[in-house]
Symmetry: C3
Subunit: 243 residues, 3 copies
């Protein structure tokens, strides 16, 4: 029984600790893993592709608490998703939709459960965390959710031909899945033409290369340097394969 946290709450701010207290109240002793608290702020689409690339490293039965929610306090619904044996909780703004679109088996629910006290701005703590805890504990009452056919916002199953994340080394993740990409393909990003290398140790020092990262995505990197800084890359920048 594991709860995986995937948010833009920031790892350094006093938000995640409050979420954990709420989780532990509903699911005492549950294992909590911080996967990512720095989803690019307000970038739901990047988050949706990141979440899909990371899900498979967590065991069947895991519950993902996924909150990137610039519309908190507005009218969007809270959703629960079961997809290929894992559980997901999050807002209806597309964040869970790429995972769902690429799953073989999926069921969607609108969450009806509400806490006694719901702040206007922190549904991660007040609403999503208790629901995730109850689901992880197998204690969510049936009337707490109603099944729906599809979410309101759906980004679909396609790749995102853009930078979706830049890590602290300066490596830039794209939303392109690497599985089908020929190793002699040239990636275009920020005006540069980028060739493939299998691993960092094989790349020419000082030159950016692309490779299949540990999450199966096309990533732009540089041996012992920051590709993002060298090439001036930012989250949201478009990328494409050279024709």
């Amino acid at each position: 029984m594991t709860i995986v946290l995937f948010t833009d709450f920031g790892g350094a701010d006093p938000y995640v600790g409050q979420v954990k207290a709420a989780l532990l109240e509903c699911a005492p002793g549950v294992e909590i893993i911080d996967l990512l608290h720095d989803v690019p702020a307000f970038s739901v689409r990047s988050g949706a592709h990141l979440l899909d690339s990371l899900k498979s490293f967590f065991p069947a039965g895991s519950t993902f608490l996924a909150v990137v929610d610039p519309g908190v306090g507005g009218a969007r619904d809270a959703l629960a998703l079961d997809a290929d044996g894992r559980h997901y909780i999050g807002p209806d703004n597309g964040l869970l939709s790429v995972v769902a679109a690429r799953s073989l088996v999926r069921r969607w629910w609108r969450v009806l459960w509400r806490p006694r006290a719901l702040s206007a701005s922190f549904h991660g703590r007040d609403l999503f965390a208790p629901v995730a805890g109850l689901i992880a504990a197998g204690a969510l009452p049936p009337e707490a959710r109603e099944e729906i056919a599809a979410p309101a916002i759906d980004f679909g199953a396609g790749d995102a031909a853009e930078i979706i994340y830049i890590d602290h080394y300066g490596n830039a993740w794209t939303g392109l899945r690497a599985a089908g990409a020929p190793r002699d393909a040239i990636l275009l990003a920020s005006g540069a033409r980028i060739s493939h290398a299998r691993v960092f140790a094989e790349a020419r020092p000082g030159f950016a290369f692309w490779y299949e990262n540990g999450q199966g995505l096309v990533e732009i990197a540089q041996n012992q340097g920051s590709a993002a800084r060298s090439l001036g890359l930012s989250v949201g920048d478009l990328v494409s394969w050279s024709a």
Copy 2:
């Protein structure tokens, strides 16, 4: 049995891990929650108001290890506080005093317990953590502390009319409690006049607003932007209500 960490040790530095090893030695299997490790450095007063705003999200019986301690190695005492059903450990520099001043029931102790080896600079690991672990485990011997009437430094129960924290979104927490503030009040900060909005989704894009944040404090924010950057806000800046 939960221990909540509230420090300025920095989440990225190799200090918190040493504190956790010390806690687990005294209280094996205890649940540890990282609440905040980036209390504004050296800013004990901000820390005191932050801690008070966050305490109530943790269950009765929780033990808070609270260390913001620029005077480490000097003469200040180590304190234990029981307040409204929660335990607190920290230095006698005011850090615990706002919690105490706003509690219905409180008891103060001076900590007499000392470790076999006490470094000059890391009492968080060597002194406060073992004491917190022993308290959480219900194993602190009575002679390890003596009751006192009051701490040496006491900030009192009043609000702090200043910025006490800026989060990674750029939202600026003030030390003003929002409960009594009329929704048509105008907040003055950094030369700007700031109006109320209930939630981010209701605010005009690009305009700062104030609202009651999820911790009950008046916070200055901006829809999908950084209020701190837009207004040039820093921790310690004074704020006030317009007359």
Copy 3:
């Protein structure tokens, strides 16, 4: 049974969470402590000295997963080390060698175990974490490793007369052990002559001083300020005692 994480994976990136999932799969319920995920990037030598300074704060029987691995995907071996009652897993690039060189009792193994799927770039998750989990769980089969006399890369037992870490306060750790240093010695760094102070509270505000930090190393600090910024210090800068 504790696993201690010591890496350059970055605390904010989605890498550590994947490592933890891999650890928990091999060692369910194991206690995991994040010691440091910001070892200066690509700086194996700094990491080796940091690891040695931190090991003794964790109990006998602890397993350290130590990964700073710019050569991932190249030919370097994976190593296991038992040293003075603690276990270490990491790449054969010197990272474990200072710990070993300063230990009274040590045994080295080359790790032969390989996962079914090994990514080219994330051996921390795919190789080192499962091995650490199996060792912590006492479940590593004997044929998974073969004993060797010594690692390929060995930095030896000597001090590192350089800056090995700068923390978020701006304090600069050197790789010099403080035990033998006379308190009237003058440390030279970045063109400055730096005197000793016992604790922060005793130092003249605005002046850098050196002291024995909580890990037994000579550290350059400043009372309520950033010594690294004041003196322009960076990781790798050389330091020396004045003749």
